[in-house]
């Protein structure tokens, strides 16, 4: 088995949050995959993926079920290690520890209040009243400041996912990995969440990597769409549409059509 190399340090001693200087660094690289492969036993899930992502970019990764798109995300977040190839980060000393992961499910601790759940995102970054203040500010950002002291069980599905988003972003990550976080929501809540996500992304300028099976969602949110098929990059497409974007506009529909054609004509 070829030795996997992870160039970035895995240290959890994160640099202070204010060290985030994105915004003036247009064009700087956030992370890069070099010929990354991943096997589980005999099954090849990823087969030589090379991908260069600029800091602050909103990347969407699309593919059919089981194409390896979630595996790609797990490698990025350090939840798995590549079987071959390497993964480098723009700011080498930061690496995985500045990457936050948002799951398909909210995964909130039912025995902790909403604000305590958000504070989990500040583990190793801040504590005590400072953590609470920052968590409350982030909850305000996602529109749930008034629910801070309630139990997660009384929230709706969309509200839970907003708390999960606040938890992911409260530590001001440089890269946010999203694994179909909106998949379980109803259509209207979904659009609301997409707008919230876009607004916060425009505001904080982190690099976003969204895995989704919804081409419409990918096109509405992303600067760039990557289609994965059979463990390789099958299509890499920019979405040069100005924001704010209108759902169902002709431009977006055209790009969506191109991607769908590609998804169903080959494979």
């Amino acid at each position: 088995m070829p030795a996997a190399t992870l160039t970035a340090a895995r240290s959890l001693a994160a640099t202070p949050a204010q060290a985030r200087t994105i915004g003036s660094v247009e064009g700087r690289r956030a992370f890069a995959f070099r010929e990354v492969g991943k096997r589980f036993g005999d099954k090849i899930v990823l087969d030589g993926i090379s991908l260069d992502v600029r800091a602050g970019q909103f990347l969407a990764v699309i593919g059919k079920s089981g194409c390896g798109k979630s595996t790609l995300l797990r490698l990025l977040a350090g939840l798995d290690r590549p079987s071959s190839g390497s993964l480098t980060f723009g700011a080498a000393e930061e690496g995985h520890s500045r990457t936050r992961f948002m799951f398909q499910e909210p995964r909130l601790l039912p025995w902790a209040s909403v604000v305590k759940n958000v504070e989990i995102g500040l583990t190793g970054i801040a504590g005590g009243t400072d953590a609470r203040q920052r968590a409350l500010a982030m909850l305000d950002e996602v529109g749930l400041a008034d629910r801070a002291d309630e139990w997660p069980s009384v929230l709706s599905g969309g509200q839970k996912q907003r708390v999960a988003l606040a938890r992911a972003l409260v530590g001001q990550p440089q890269i946010l990995a999203l694994d179909e976080p909106l998949g379980a929501l109803d259509a209207l809540t979904r659009i609301e969440m997409q707008q919230l996500l876009e607004r916060i992304w425009l505001d904080q300028k982190f690099t976003a990597v969204l895995v989704t099976h919804d081409v419409g969602e990918a096109v509405a949110l992303a600067d760039r769409v990557v289609v994965i098929g059979a463990g390789r990059i099958a299509l890499d497409l920019d979405v040069p549409v100005a924001r704010p974007r209108r759902h169902g506009s002709a431009e977006l529909a055209h790009i969506e059509g191109t991607i769908l054609d590609h998804l169903f004509s080959r494979t």
Binding site: R107, L109, W111, A112, W151, S153, R167
Partner: protein, 259 residues
């Protein structure tokens, strides 16, 4: 109708049936339907209660029995809890001990009484040993089950967000296992009294069970019935305390958020 609903809400309804039974029992005894040497009237039991309270005998025996029950519970419960944690968290520990424990679990602990009397005589150790053994398994099994049933997705989330092992245990695993641990606790409290009654009835020189056996020797049937009633009350008291504790620590659980 609305009175019944209101009573049911504040928990008083649970006491209606015992009160009715006692009233019926008293009436039947007074009418001569139940001979006094079979079952004495509640008033006779109350009289025995008063007599024994004045002599100090009752308080002393309750004190002795409670102390035995709680010490046995503390010993067996803490060993069960510790092993449940260890086996829930470590596959190595589970592999080494779980099979043995499951085999021992299938022996009714009261079947060990003859052996225990041979080992310890009728001293305190015999009672402590039996109570500890009886309490051990419900606590062990439910702690282990609780830890094993903690949502692995939450544990993964904790790891991704950089919680260290200590924080992961206290903030994710233990709270997740708590509902199951409480089930074990309440079950163990029941076993605790049961074991103690049997052990004290068979071999003791003080305590409630001893008091009941002495009363039988002298045909004091009112004292026998009194001891049985006190056991029922102590059992209910222990259960209520456990439930209070449960409500206080499981406030997040949807099942405890109403009422």
């Amino acid at each position: 109708m609305s009175l019944a609903i209101r009573l049911a809400r504040n928990g008083a309804a649970g006491w209606l049936l015992p009160a009715a039974i006692i009233a019926g029992w008293e009436a039947a005894a007074r009418a001569g339907l139940i001979p006094a040497n079979v079952l004495p009237a509640p008033s006779a039991v109350a009289e025995a209660f008063w007599r024994l309270t004045l002599s100090g005998e009752l308080i002393r025996n309750i004190g002795v029995s409670t102390l035995r029950a709680l010490s046995g519970f503390a010993i067996g419960g803490s060993i069960g809890f510790a092993l449940g944690l260890a086996n829930g968290l470590s596959a190595l520990s589970r592999g080494l001990t779980d099979t043995t424990l499951q085999m021992i679990r299938n022996i009714p602990h009261l079947a060990l009484i003859p052996l225990v009397i041979l080992w310890f005589g009728i001293d305190e150790e015999a009672k402590l040993f039996l109570v500890a053994l009886g309490v051990f398994f419900p606590i062990y099994v439910n702690t282990l089950l609780g830890i094993q049933s903690v949502d692995p997705q939450l544990v993964e989330m904790g790891r991704v967000y950089g919680l260290d092992r200590r924080a992961l245990f206290f903030r994710v695993i233990l709270p997740g296992a708590l509902p199951s641990i409480f089930v074990g606790l309440r079950y163990a409290l029941g076993i605790m009294w049961l074991t103690l009654i049997v052990a004290e009835t068979i071999s003791a020189s003080s305590g409630l069970g001893y008091m009941a056996m002495q009363a039988r020797e002298f045909l004091l049937i009112d004292v026998v019935v009194l001891s049985i009633l006190i056991y029922a009350l102590l059992g209910k008291l222990a259960d209520s305390l456990a439930r209070l504790l449960e409500r206080l620590s499981l406030g997040w659980h949807p099942a405890f958020q109403k009422g």
